[in-house]
Symmetry: C2
Subunit: 210 residues, 2 copies
């Protein structure tokens, strides 16, 4: 089931190359011919798997969503069990991304900027941001934020700003500043738990909507 225990199929090579080129130059900046040339796959094969270029772009976005959202959750988990710490810790994913070679900002914002507002591609970028915000908002609720919606929006906006700025310059001071800001916002919005009651109150359903 894992893609790593067999040698890469043509589809794998296409996706890997498209991921790299689309992120580097944007989906519009990287032509199908370039993907074909750099992946070493025939154009007919590419069009067999992805009949339209947009299909490939959507697959690219899904890949980025999986990767980025995954590293966001991993960074949060690495900060421990306290949701307040997790809200701050997820900003480490921003720092890691920023230090990565070839870092070029947020794939979703970059792609949204060059796609037609009503198109499937644009809708996918909006969906991604909504999913991330819902997750952060849920974390904020579990952290006991007075206004979880507000804190969720604030932290995702901060995250977006840190990511989006990366398309200009990958200044490592940005993620650090963003994390410090997140710390201040979380501290201000969430009542600090007494030392005695740090055990998680994990009985009730965690997902009721507001």
């Amino acid at each position: 089931m894992s893609p790593s225990d067999r040698r890469p199929t043509a589809r794998d090579k296409i996706l890997e190359t498209a991921f790299r080129l689309f992120y580097e130059r944007g989906p519009r900046g990287a032509g199908i011919d370039t993907v074909v040339a750099e992946s070493g796959v025939a154009k007919t094969t590419l069009y067999k798997y992805f009949p339209r270029k947009d299909d490939l772009v959507l697959a690219y976005l899904d890949e980025v969503d999986h990767t980025w959202f995954g590293s966001l959750r991993a960074a949060a988990r690495a900060a421990g069990d306290d949701p307040r710490e997790q809200l701050v810790g997820m900003f480490d994913a921003l720092g890691s991304a920023c230090r990565r070679e070839g870092y070029h900002g947020c794939a979703f914002i970059n792609t949204a900027a060059e796609s037609e507002p009503g198109s499937a591609v644009h809708r996918r970028t909006v969906e991604h941001k909504a999913v991330v915000r819902a997750w952060v908002t849920d974390l904020a609720r579990r952290a006991g934020a007075a206004d979880a919606q507000l804190l969720g929006r604030q932290l995702t906006t901060l995250l977006d700003g840190g990511l989006a700025g990366g398309v200009l310059d990958a200044d490592p001071a940005i993620p650090a500043a963003a994390k410090a800001a997140a710390r201040a916002l979380v501290d201000a919005a969430c009542p600090s738990p007494r030392v005695g009651e740090m055990r998680p109150r994990a009985f009730g359903p965690s997902g009721e909507a507001s």
Copy 2:
């Protein structure tokens, strides 16, 4: 000297159309032919004023810089004389932009996303962000922030996030959340002045670098 006291020249019409189309679709998404068609100007005329498309894109960025930076400063001024209030008040420019018809995020981030990293266009976007950040940082210094560099970075990141998110959806709750976050960050970073000493301490040089 003002462009409004004479009827628009061909150059004016080109710039107005390019501004609209470039912002709407991105510089790469709007072809010269479209600018020509929608401005009602001849292609030869356009190329007389802007020998390369990039020249037109740079003029577009200058226009946006002028407009956006201007409304940022106006929003700050409108918040009064206290630099702390100005740091918060500038976020009203974000709210106004977001409510504007056809709002489509940050022109600089959007343009940077689709331009070659070393190119003149890309450099211009980086310059713009640096100028804005320097201005915000200076404001933070005058507001008495313990670490003006840090607060400057935090607020511009918040601003970038609010702007960048606009390319996905123009949710008016975002600017409101960003402003509330700015308030919290400014309050945490700047010592609140005693009521008795609210007069500005405006003797010393305000521009020494850190």
